[in-house]
Symmetry: C2
Subunit: 666 residues, 2 copies
């Protein structure tokens, strides 16, 4: 029967097979491979490119279209002054250490993490708690990623200490990392040499704009600044109203110190960023009620500070109510991020939201949460969601003198009363000459209490004020009067705060591939990528039974009809067996297959199909390998619904008879 139960966890995740699949099917590969490659640079092949653009298309729908965000496309090359103002030139850096003998450069926090984790693994092995050690070839592969564990038992205190360090790892400064290396004798695991004191290394790629060499520039390490610099134009485009959001999908660059971990740590990557501008005094979100009940696994900063990484499952509504998440808008986006990731196929049980700890968070941010996805490298930050407050807009505004503010007509003007000094300009000028401005400034700088005192003294006839350089000036009622006046403020001007969800698309794509990978119960060699149809590179594979030209018109007809229905299909008319062709497409994550076999049809005897009906084809589902049969147009209609997600496979099985004939040797 078509609807067999699929056991996707029959085999444990096998990274070697997984990576071999991605490489063989050209999801991605090291860039410049024939030149020996460059660490941290990868090219996407056809299935990887399609998967990426499908994730982007879904992202656009889920965020930009759904919330009417304003999309922008700003430049990567950025003149230095922008990043001087934003703080990136001074602070966008990682701590690196050098191997004291070989000069090899390592990222300090990664070194500490790898060495301590290896020691904890070795301890587990020594205590007989470790899982089976990895196979030989796997070990070799891992050498570059991780310090090799050796079975050495540690004391219970040391284990606790290491675990605490690891839980707080993102919170250490450079000097603290250096101290950890000395205290725990952390060396370069590849050479066993000591390492230098941590030094800062700026992660921006530098270049120079124009022919004179006089205009330094950087490749942006995030797309955000391009939004902020255009804030005034965007606000105007939005009819001067907030809240609103801008969104951008584009390339960014970080000159990582020693990138490993494949697509998870690269030097060039595609990001999708949203900058949502809100009133700092009102961070509610009008659609928050729609997501209030979405449950998230939260790992807050207090839990981490206590040395634990235990998550709490909680409705986002409750998390905001309890003040765990700073405000509704931030909470709204956390929930929307969760919904997006699950929709494209991320396993929700391997997704958590981790709050930044105090030292980890940018100094200006008021709250920040990372969506972390578990994969074979551990828990990886894939989306950051920060409340950046008014920082960016304020610094650019201060630097350029261009106001990046919102001006709102107040519904109720604010009426205030206060004492003000009114000067008789002519007499005042004549009396004090060049000191007039100085004295006026002193008076205007007075607060309410001082002005009240001055008013009283003037009523007495005269008073004396003293300038900062000690000179005294006599004031009399003919020179100035102090009066109570009413002020009406009808415009409120403020710098909006920015909530920023920021997506690393390559990391999401990689985690999704890991979560989608499994092998058939009967056949560990047969890898399958169970990508949801919405992101699968190809939705439908058309498989003519043979490459004979008789099939061509029908293949073209089916192709054209699918294209008209908006479904992206591919034809595999190679000479491989049907079974091999399907296996190849299971590896490519193609959810549905259509076998065209109209001339030599074996019809399932349990269903009464008219003998004259020749225009049939079979429909195969990737995960179950179940097959159904039906009239060509009927099958196209069903597969269209399946791809669009309006019906599921169980429903398709109700609508079409199962096919259990033997078409070809699988």
């Amino acid at each position: 029967m078509a609807n067999i139960q699929v056991n996707k966890t029959a085999h444990p995740f096998d990274k070697t097979r997984f990576e071999a699949l991605l490489n063989r099917r050209f999801f991605y590969a090291p860039a410049f491979e024939i030149y020996g490659g460059v660490a941290g640079l990868y090219d996407y092949g056809p299935p990887g490119s399609s998967l990426q653009s499908n994730i982007i298309a879904e992202w656009r729908k889920h965020f930009i279209v759904e919330e009417h965000m304003l999309e922008v496309d700003t430049t990567i090359m950025t003149p230095a002054p922008v990043f001087e103002t934003s703080g990136h030139v001074a602070r966008f850096a990682d701590w690196m250490v050098k191997d004291l003998k070989t000069g090899e450069v390592l990222r300090a926090d990664h070194l500490v993490k790898n060495v301590l984790e290896a020691r904890l693994d070795g301890d587990k092995e020594a205590r007989g708690l470790a899982t089976a050690p990895p196979k030989e070839d796997d070990k070799k592969k891992k050498k570059k990623d991780k310090a090799k564990p050796t079975a050495v038992k540690l004391s219970d205190e040391v284990v606790t200490e290491y675990e605490t360090i690891l839980a707080k790892l993102d919170n250490y400064s450079g000097p603290e990392l250096g101290e950890l290396c000395r205290k725990h004798n952390i060396r370069n695991p590849d050479t066993d040499n000591e390492v230098s004191e941590p030094q800062q290394f700026n992660l921006m790629f530098a270049s120079s704009i124009g022919p004179t060499g006089q205009h330094p520039g950087f490749l942006r390490p995030e797309t955000a600044q391009g939004h902020f610099l255009n804030f005034s134009r965007l606000l105007e485009f939005n009819n001067d109203r907030i809240p609103f959001a801008s969104a951008q999908i584009g390339r960014s660059f970080r000159n990582e110190i020693s990138p490993r971990a494949g697509l998870l740590r690269v030097r060039e990557f595609t990001m999708a960023e949203i900058e949502h501008y809100v009133d700092p005094e009102d961070k509610r979100h009008e659609r928050f009620s729609e997501v209030r009940d979405v449950e998230l696994d939260l790992l807050d900063r207090d839990t981490q500070a206590s040395g634990s990484t235990k998550v709490t499952r909680m409705k986002i509504g409750d998390a905001v109510d309890k003040g765990i998440v700073a405000n509704e808008t931030l909470g709204y986006f956390l929930a929307r991020i969760h919904l997006f990731l699950v929709k494209i196929g991320i396993n929700p049980t391997r997704l958590r939201f981790r709050q930044h700890m105090a030292n980890e968070m940018a100094h200006y941010a008021t709250d920040c949460w990372d969506a972390e996805i578990q994969n074979s490298y551990g828990w990886t930050e894939c989306v950051g969601c920060a409340d950046r407050a008014a920082y960016d807009l304020s610094v650019h505004s201060a630097k350029t003198g261009h106001p990046l503010v919102v001006r709102q007509a107040l519904k109720e003007p604010i009426i205030t009363e206060k004492l003000v000094a009114e000067f008789d300009k002519k007499t005042f000028g004549k009396t004090f000459r060049k000191d007039a401005a100085l004295i006026q400034n002193i008076v205007e700088g007075m607060d309410e209490a001082m002005l009240t005192k001055l008013q009283g003294e003037l009523a007495q006839g005269s008073t004396t004020i003293t300038s900062s350089d000690g000179r005294e000036f006599k004031l009399t009622p003919d020179l100035l009067t102090i009066e109570r006046k009413t002020f009406k403020q009808s415009i409120r001007e403020f710098t909006p705060n920015v909530i920023e969800p920021s997506f690393g698309l390559g990391r999401i794509l990689y985690a999704l591939l890991e979560h989608s990978f499994w092998s058939r119960e009967q056949d560990v060699e047969r890898g399958v990528l169970s990508l949801p149809a919405v992101v699968a590179p190809t939705k439908v594979l058309i498989v003519p039974l043979s490459a004979k030209p008789e099939f061509d018109p029908l293949v073209r007809e089916v192709s054209a009809k699918l294209r008209k229905a908006g479904i992206f299909s591919r034809v595999d008319d190679s000479n491989a067996t049907i079974g091999k062709r399907y296996a190849r497409n299971d590896e490519l994550g193609t959810p549905f297959g259509l076998t065209i076999d109209f001339a030599y049809l074996t019809i399932s005897s349990t269903f009464a199909l008219a003998a004259t009906q020749k225009r049939t084809m079979t429909l195969r589902e990737r995960d179950t390998t179940g097959q159904l049969i039906g009239d060509i147009d009927e099958v196209i209609a069903i597969v269209t619904e399946l791809v669009n997600g309006t019906i599921d496979w169980a429903e398709a099985c109700r609508r079409l008879p199962a096919y259990d004939g033997v078409q070809a040797v699988e």
Copy 2:
């Protein structure tokens, strides 16, 4: 009536108004504007971003999906050895000159062009042939783009000489440009200072990869190399068959010397490139018959060499037959490029294909044509289409030792006969010891004639051969025999040729905006962008008659229904009048508007609508400003068909009654 005639050429193209519109509606703006901007870097705002992504989506459909191309996404950052091999480090340069007093840097060919064109304009003015001089503010704007013309009459010979230079401009070398400057006294028009001899300036942005500073890298100036380096993987992905094409859409960078001309000459831009791999011995294209009759305006290299720029209108089939276009595959892509550009809204009468002249073309290319689009800056190259032969694959293969070749099983094996020497290895080795290999090499290096001679001498009993260092060796029949043998070659190995259509999307976008811009006959102030629905940033504007909350449910319903139909709409519920809101959207190029006005409906008396029918709305067409009225669902169905291009406005007018009520003050 709805179907009034629209006169889009009532007003001549007004660049000042056009640019003001693009700026006001934030199609694009100088990047880092609040920091004073950087020449050649632009940011796209919401309508520009949408227009760009719609052009890209249409490009994907027209090329990638239609022809099953393999999409890739490769890195921008590229290690230096790649561009050393490709020739970019040595040759990807422009000629620049320096103002001898101010040091200002100018591109040499642009300087010659601007100065000579200004002199020709001045001559026309002096002869009374010039059109009205531009207005004052226009002149000021143009100063940066062009040398200012002054009314000086030139001799007829000089006019002819200048025109010939301009027609051949792309053909001059750097030293020749320097000579032109001296001969014609060409100076920096901004300062009237002399300029230096032309020097080469490499246009690639340089950077450094990794923390050690030892790995120079460049930002790619085109996406092509990323395709070529992955050729083997792509070929394998395509089941080892050619022809096939790879395609990539992505950012590229060129450090232009002194970028002017807005989006037409920028330092960072989005390209779409196709690399189509063909058998060098068979450049036919299987779908050429489909485009054979497409007519193009061709400007071939001979016409240009003769100093003329007169195009010839010709069917592409004839152009290939006559050898004007080198081969079918190149011709196929020229026609497909033409069809694409016209589909997105480029005016076909302002589109020509210009062939590269001998010196202009890369030395390895066999033929190259540029699709040039006429705009206010002149004729601008927007798409290049070159036959790059086997150059790129060959040089990378030679450099890396990685074969970038196709291996094809021959249908008929090639049988060859030739003489070969067979050695009695044992005796031979014993006889000559350490000289055995040397002697064997000498014999194996012999050609057919020498072997025939050797065979004859051996038949006589013995012979002597001499090594290059003068030693003699005696050969006898027991040591070797010379025999005629038959060889069968069943695999053909070759480096494919590459046909490359390469699109500058920003240039196409800009030209499209110019071609779409016009003003209403009655109202020059009212700019309209007549973008086709397929690329328009927003397809439908929803306009509730007022911002009253009663309209909200209906606005949401219409919005949701359009979204379900796949139509991207926006709501304008601002307080502006309906007329103002529509005018704003005419400027944004929104082709259709829906006015929701259900409560207070004035029904055209000429149509018998049931009085109870309240759920109606009006549909407005941008270019004619005609309005129709109908039931909400009916109007949604019609507007969906209009946007998808399955019906036109005339058909819509047949299906729905015209609305000529007065809704609001326009």
